[in-house]
Symmetry: C2
Subunit: 352 residues, 2 copies
């Protein structure tokens, strides 16, 4: 099926992706939770459309350029949340342009960002929805306490050109209880000021099937769930057969009985470890570890005989699917009833 594809290549099984999308949507529906998938995993408008078809309320993006590429790629994407502090003239202009095409929201965790958003949208006589980003333990962005969340919510609510849209967090793994506690307190404090909290949005694929443990959340933003990867299989969230994305590679050298080299290195698999040892799982060969990556070489080791021959092809489930789709200009999409087809990845490399 993949004979004509030059390696290394990124393959996506569209049937598996669809099944992953539907499984989580069904779970979320049963708990009255809205789904807003993070497109960072696939970066493909056509897969965002599958997610919308299944019942997603919109999409999540991380950067303005990423959202712009996604919206340009599908006239069915009409609701976008950018979970990022947006700063700077060019990016604010990009936001304004997006806000004319779709229902748009962003997040903020500080007054400087709010001031910039307010100035840009006021000048254009436009309005932007802004969530307060809350730190529920991941220690990345986010206000540190429910009190600080309430203060920033008031600040946004009072800012010209802005509408306070609710609370957002990217929680630590296993953080549902923390989300529930933080958000409950923040919501109470904000409502006590007479400000409504229209939505509370949380996310993270590792805990997606525990989303109901933070019932205060109204919306979930899963990313990796659409493809799954070695990280999620190792966490017990998915099985190998739930992994829609694999890397096709060719053995280019078997220089020792216990060692083989493939033509996929860090320029395809990336160096992301996500706490794991080794750089991916070779399908059908659990005995093999990918113990070293150079940019264009992956080194495979086993305890006994590697039993691979030069020219043989293997498939690898990478540690982290999202970063792999960022390495390639196109992915080969295939399925039960679909021969592999090269799809460009419009939102690849959109870092600004």
């Amino acid at each position: 099926m993949f004979d004509k594809i030059q390696t290394p290549a990124v393959l996506v099984d569209i049937d598996v992706a669809r099944r992953n999308i539907e499984r989580f949507q069904a779970y979320a529906d049963s708990h009255g939770l809205k789904v807003r998938p993070h497109i960072k995993t696939h970066k493909l408008p056509a897969i965002a459309e599958l997610q919308l078809d299944a019942g997603a309320v919109g999409i999540t993006c991380q950067k303005v350029s990423e959202a712009t590429a996604m919206v340009a790629g599908s006239d069915r994407i009409s609701d976008v949340l950018i979970t990022y502090n947006i700063l700077g003239e060019d990016k604010l202009a990009g936001l304004l342009e997006l806000s004319r095409k779709v229902r748009l929201a962003v997040v903020a965790d500080n007054a400087t960002v709010v001031d910039g958003l307010s100035a840009a949208f006021t000048a254009a006589a436009a309005t932007l929805n802004v969530f307060v980003e809350c730190n529920t333990g991941a220690d990345r962005c986010g206000v540190a306490s429910p009190e600080a969340a309430a203060d920033l919510a008031s600040y946004i609510a009072a800012a010209p050109g802005l509408h306070f849209a609710g609370l957002m967090t990217y929680p630590p793994v296993g953080g549902a209880a923390k989300v529930q506690a933080f958000m409950t307190e923040a919501k109470t404090l904000i409502e006590a000021k007479g400000i409504a909290v229209p939505a509370i949005t949380t996310g993270g694929s590792p805990d997606l099937m525990s989303a109901h443990l933070a019932p205060i959340a109204t919306e979930y933003r899963p990313g990796t769930y659409v493809y799954n990867d070695r990280s999620l299989v190792t966490r017990g969230v998915a099985a190998w057969e739930d992994c829609a994305l694999t890397v096709l590679a060719t053995v280019v050298s078997v220089p020792a009985p216990d060692r083989a080299i493939i033509d996929a290195g860090s320029k395809t698999l990336t160096s992301d470890l996500l706490g794991l040892t080794g750089h991916g799982h070779v399908l059908g060969r659990p005995d093999i570890s990918i113990d070293q990556l150079s940019e264009e070489h992956g080194r495979l080791r086993t305890d006994g005989d590697i039993n691979l021959t030069v020219g043989q092809r293997i498939r690898i489930v990478p540690n982290h699917a999202c970063v792999v789709t960022n390495m390639v200009d196109g992915v080969y999409v295939y399925g039960k009833d679909k021969a592999p087809e090269l799809w460009p990845v419009p939102a690849r490399g959109k870092i600004v």
Copy 2:
């Protein structure tokens, strides 16, 4: 100087790059060593031309598509070594096409690869230069012993359509003595068969100033030396002011006194550690560690007060320069007499 540039962005100081090129060329000239830079670091035809101007004999690439992009980008690139086992119909066709445009060589470490090269070039009534790749301790590709090198050299010399071009290695760090020993023995064995060894090529930026410790080598293939990076500074091979490539980033959040978040994550800096702790060096702030990367967030920590404000810009020397140029469609090139200009990176993402 960089005010108009959206962040994150990759900056290249062309004066520093030129100085790095000239410094190593002068050293190599003084030791009678040819220089064949690996373009994986910059992926830019215009910088390859600077290297040729300084006296390089040609360029090194890792993949056929990378070489094709480089040759298409400069009519002054006329001599290319691809240090990779090339397999498969499409890639062999690409090699043939390249061989009609430039003086071309590849490497092989096994008979399957040699057979494929021979069949393709014989069928086209063409000739290809082939080096034997030798494992001098890096345990990646390469024949395991001088005897095996001699056997494969004979095999190449006897193969229709191929010309035995010499010996190639990518040595381990600090491996000059191993290169000298392996290559001396292999050369003796090959010459004893009546086969000439026209060239012996080695490489690696960490040891570039020790190249003379393996005097049997005729050619050196440095890559990272053109830009340098945190890895090479940590090894004592370069100083911060020798680092031509930096990442410009904006502080988007200061959520705690000892923590700040920038808009450059693993999609810009990559997760490559190269044995280091942390993900880059913040210029002028040696107290800061970049202790965690998400795709679009970099987390900065310090022991005391982080003393950064939202909106402030910083510059980072990444752990590994080569992989950073693979993340972006363009880099901003600037210099003493040159305002920043966006250069596309033609050989980015060329993995096949």
